[in-house]
């Protein structure tokens, strides 16, 4: 299996401070890697740096064989990466439909607004509502639908379950599962281990700006004591 994303020795941070201190991570094509870690270890910093929203100090980010470290976000986006940000960040003054249309490429692609509505009928019902009138779950669906329209090869999902009720997380998980089933590649940043285990093929654990564990999901699940030691949770 070829690797879609290969990150090596990635160092980055804010205003000279170091948050990522040499991160190595690979995402094989067609697989989902869960990135776990406690609050503040640098998970969001990592996806932002991969996406080109934050300039790395050093290291390499290769997407489909192309070196993208230091490239601006629109270049990374055009190379096939898409981020569903923590906290959703839908365009609040625009309607659901406009939020989707803004992302729809002029020349068309595998995804259309109608197909997004098929995947998430809830959005179709709310198509005329403004972004800031949506519930958290609906905003999350909109944030996912919006990036699908860019036909990404790699999804960067930053805590899609953040702040959502369990029943809503379940709906989001269903949507993501359908995308996984058709072979989308993703980095899934999650605190919700149920969701991470349900979707991910592999698990990577970050601590103090480094990856301190990586391995198959099943193996990670089976050793609860190690999981506890790595994450500080049961």
């Amino acid at each position: 299996m070829t690797d879609l994303l290969t990150v090596s020795g990635l160092r980055a941070g804010y205003a000279g401070g170091t948050v990522l201190d040499g991160v190595d991570l690979t995402v094989p094509a067609g697989s989902v890697v869960a990135l776990l870690g406690r609050n503040g270890v640098g998970k969001t910093t990592f996806v932002h740096t991969v996406m080109g929203m934050l300039r790395p100090y050093s290291g390499s980010v290769r997407l489909g064989g192309r070196e993208l470290a230091g490239a601006p976000a629109h270049v990374v986006a055009r190379a096939g990466a898409a981020i569903v940000p923590q906290g959703r960040r839908v365009f609040a003054p625009l309607t659901v439909e406009e939020n989707l249309q803004i992302a729809a490429p002029r020349r068309g692609g595998p995804w259309t607004v109608e197909r997004v509505y098929e995947l998430m009928p809830r959005l179709a019902e709310r198509r005329a509502n403004r972004g800031d009138q949506l519930s958290g779950g609906e905003q999350q669906m909109l944030a996912i639908g919006r990036v699908l329209l860019r036909a990404p090869r790699l999804l960067l999902l930053d805590e899609p379950s953040d702040g959502l009720a369990p029943a809503v997380v379940d709906q989001i998980a269903g949507v993501l599962e359908r995308l996984c089933a058709e072979g989308i590649s993703a980095v899934l940043v999650e605190q919700d281990l149920h969701l991470a285990f349900r979707l991910a093929d592999k698990v990577a654990v970050m601590r103090k700006g480094r990856i301190v564990h990586r391995g198959p999901t099943a193996e990670f699940r089976s050793d609860r004591r190690r999981a506890h030691a790595l994450l500080g949770v049961a």
Partner: protein, 333 residues
């Protein structure tokens, strides 16, 4: 990426609710407004008509400010510069070349476009308050230039512009100039409204809302912002040409800081981002400055300041907000 196989049948998505009806209403409102405005010279006397002509020209400037400030989220204090470039270009064409209004407007449009392209190249790279300061600097530089350059009359201004003619016929009476100005202003409004509703306009509103997010979706905000800056420069210059057609005298005061500030004030009072609201704001602001000012002992600026404060506190969406029906329960969880 392959298609997701949907097992469930496609949901019965109701055929685009309300959209066409809303657009129909907007067009109907625009046509009605244009018809009412067209009837003005038949009812009012010469002075009110000339007053309204200036309001229309100023509204075109305000429209360009709303395009930048309200639609794209780039608050500007520099649009009076392009308004001035348009006014001076039209006046120079009028004095030296031809009294044909269409030629004057076209020349002003090109001059405004060129001026905005040269200055916007640098300006659009800045954000927020730095952008505001840069536009202020552009405005002041152009004002200085107009004030000192003898070719355009320096501080004395540029006089001697013959009455504008349209289709080979001179327009001597105020009513005819008004109709000409109304026609061009309506065209400018239509162009800006169409741009605001186009996919490009959606991109601009996305940039206003969250530039980083647009970048992450694969857009380069730079060219989009440069494009709208050039368009706004051209629109402001057309407003300037219309102003010159009515006033037939252009002076550095027409492109000073006060004009730029009043234009921005009109946008806030009218309701930024709505286009039609700021046009109403423009009329109100000029009315206060040029007419009521005399009745309050020349304290027009004070009155405008008070109006501004009142609007900000009582109508956060400006005059346009008054037309909006109260929203039903805003579902949030």
């Amino acid at each position: 990426m392959k298609a997701v196989e949907t097992t469930a049948p496609a949901p019965a998505v109701a055929a685009r609710p309300r959209r066409p009806a809303r657009r129909g209403r907007a067009v109907a409102a625009a046509v009605t407004a244009a018809a009412l405005l067209a009837a003005v010279p038949l009812v009012l006397g010469a002075y009110p008509v000339s007053m309204m002509t200036r309001m229309l020209a100023f509204a075109v400037l305000v429209l360009s400010v709303d395009l930048l400030t309200g639609i794209t989220g780039m608050p500007t204090l520099g649009q009076a510069a392009y308004f001035g470039v348009g006014a001076y270009t039209a006046a120079l064409v009028g004095v030296h070349l031809t009294s044909d209004g269409a030629v004057q407007v076209a020349a002003a449009l090109l001059a405004g476009l060129a001026a905005a392209a040269v200055t916007g190249w640098i300006a659009v790279r800045a954000h927020g308050i730095v952008f505001l300061m840069l536009t202020l600097a552009i405005g002041e530089s152009v004002h200085q230039l107009a004030d000192t350059w003898s070719l355009v009359g320096g501080g004395n201004g540029l006089a001697g512009m013959p009455p504008v003619s349209v289709l080979g016929t001179a327009l001597p009476a105020a009513g005819f100039v008004y109709w000409w100005v109304l026609a061009v202003a309506a065209a400018a409004f239509a162009v800006v409204a169409l741009v605001a509703r186009s996919p490009y306009g959606r991109t601009l509103r996305g940039i206003r809302d969250n530039e980083a997010r647009m970048r992450a979706l694969g857009y380069r905000p730079g060219p989009a912002k440069f494009g709208v800056f050039c368009l706004a420069g051209a629109v402001a210059a057309v407003g300037g040409a219309l102003w010159a057609a009515q006033v037939r005298f252009v002076s550095p005061g027409d492109l000073g800081f006060e004009v730029a500030a009043l234009a921005l004030l009109s946008v806030v009072i009218g309701g930024s981002g709505t286009l039609w609201g700021p046009c109403l704001g423009a009329a109100l602001v000029l009315l206060v400055r040029d007419n009521l000012s005399a009745h309050v002992g020349g304290h027009g600026a004070l009155v405008l300041g008070a109006v501004f404060v009142a609007v900000v506190f009582t109508m956060p969406r400006g005059l346009a907000g008054l037309a909006r029906r109260p929203r039903r329960t805003e579902a949030r969880s």
